[in-house]
Amino acid sequence: MHEMSLCESLLQVFEDEARRQHFGHVKTVWLEIGALSGVEPAALAFGYDVVCRGTLAEGSRLEIIETPGTAWCLQCAGEVAIDARHAPCPGCGGYQLQVTGGDEMRIRELEVA
């Protein structure tokens, strides 16, 4: 996807927070990346190292917490787990699914110094 721009957005958040919360370095960042967010964790990790070079987050560790995709199945009238947007309901095999979770891309926490 657009992992490089995501990394640049991340860095921007770091810089804003560093000013606000008075820290000089980011040591570790925990991201929550949903299975349906369209983000490829490996590409994100690659872009992250490149973007962080020469910044307050140089050499920092990227921890990705992958969250599962969930959807509401109209036919089963219940929440089911899905691993892709075009996946059928694991219960009934239908496609009447409304995605309810797993599309998030969030920064949860930073370890800073």
Binding site: M1, H2, S5, L6, S9, L10, Q12, V13, E17, R20, Q21, F23, K27, T28, W30, L31, L36, S37, G38, R61, E63, I65, L74, A84, R85, H86, P88, Y95, Q96, L97, Q98, V99, E104, M105, R106, I107, R108, E109, L110, E111, V112, A113
Partner: protein, 318 residues
């Protein structure tokens, strides 16, 4: 559990600290353990409308017990072992873009402007479809265009040839338009109240899906020369769209393309997706697209002063 001394305070919970519970409140916590800790970690949640601070010996417990942070220094609380502290951010990575998008959306709403974000892969006929639309509707509706491409102003030139005002955004290396760029383009374009604004995104079925521009609807354009399985190959975009235009339908006799199968794939990723089959070349189906634009615009303008003003000016039926 603390990796240095083995104390089990990781099980403890702080009342009122559910991971997503950020009700408006201001509070302060102090934690005591059976043994002494000589330092504290500070957590600030400054980007919310309120601030709450925590002082406690371990960063992990503020998370409730949801996440395992591994064995890094974040879990060690022995004095002198680590100077690191934890800050909770809880921000969407695209939060900044989303804030710009919300500002754009408010501004467009205020001026009664219907903004449509046109997304497709390169070569779907997006610009041809747009120029035909502009030519056919320009005497009826006030129109404006924001044109996104990595390089060149060729497309904006094609748009301007129709007589409709267009702003070109060259994204350079960027693979998508973002809400900040669109906000600046709005400053320059100054679309009329009650107008329809087409934002032609960079030809890319992947990245623009995640970047809200403040538009009312994303319209995905797919041409029948592309293969009917595109909606499941690039599900995020078709999931994000409200309308799909199946373009180049005039070529159906010459290509192998199963329209029904394509629509079925698209509805797998987005059961509520509306689909219109069109040809920008022959004009087939274009009236349906125009009817959709008119109806969508009018629905958004109900009770808005721009509707009366603009339609009085153009003489178009309300």
């Amino acid at each position: 559990m603390c990796t240095v001394c083995g104390c089990g305070e990781g099980e403890s919970r702080i009342e009122g600290h559910e991971p997503h519970d950020h009700a408006a409140h201001d509070h302060h916590h102090d934690h005591e353990h059976a043994h002494a800790h000589s330092h504290a970690h500070d957590h600030d949640h400054g980007h919310h409308a309120h601030a709450h601070d925590h002082d406690h010996a371990h960063d992990v417990q503020v998370r409730g017990d949801d996440h395992d942070y591994g064995q890094g220094p974040a879990r060690a609380h022995a004095p002198g072992l680590s100077q690191a502290r934890m800050v909770q951010i809880e921000q969407d990575i695209l939060g900044k873009n989303d804030r710009y998008a919300a500002a754009n959306r408010g501004r467009l709403m205020q001026h009664g402007i219907l903004a449509l974000n046109l997304v497709s892969s390169p070569g779907s006929g997006k610009t041809s479809l747009l120029t035909r639309t502009l030519s056919d509707l320009k005497n009826e509706l006030a129109l404006g265009v924001i044109e996104g491409d990595q390089q060149t102003s060729n497309d904006a030139d094609r748009i301007r040839a129709t007589g409709v005002r267009a702003i070109q955004i060259n994204t350079g290396k960027g693979c998508h338009l973002d809400a900040h760029q669109v906000g600046h383009a709005l400053d320059h374009l100054q679309p009329d109240d009650g107008s329809v604004l087409f934002i032609e995104n960079v030809g890319n079925l992947v990245c623009p899906a995640a970047f809200d521009l403040g538009e009312a609807h994303k319209v995905a354009i797919l041409s029948i020369t592309e293969g009917e399985d595109k909606p499941i190959k690039y599900p995020d975009m078709f999931h994000a769209a409200d309308l799909m235009l199946l373009n180049k339908i005039d070529l159906l006799p010459y290509v192998q393309f199963d329209v029904e199968q394509c629509i079925e794939y698209a509805r797998r990723v987005n059961p509520g997706l509306q689909v219109l089959t069109v040809s920008a070349t022959s004009g087939e189906g274009m009236d349906d697209w125009y009817a959709w634009i008119r109806a969508t615009r009018q629905a958004r303008l109900i009770g808005h002063p721009a509707l009366k003003r603009k339609d009085a000016a153009t003489g178009a039926a309300v």
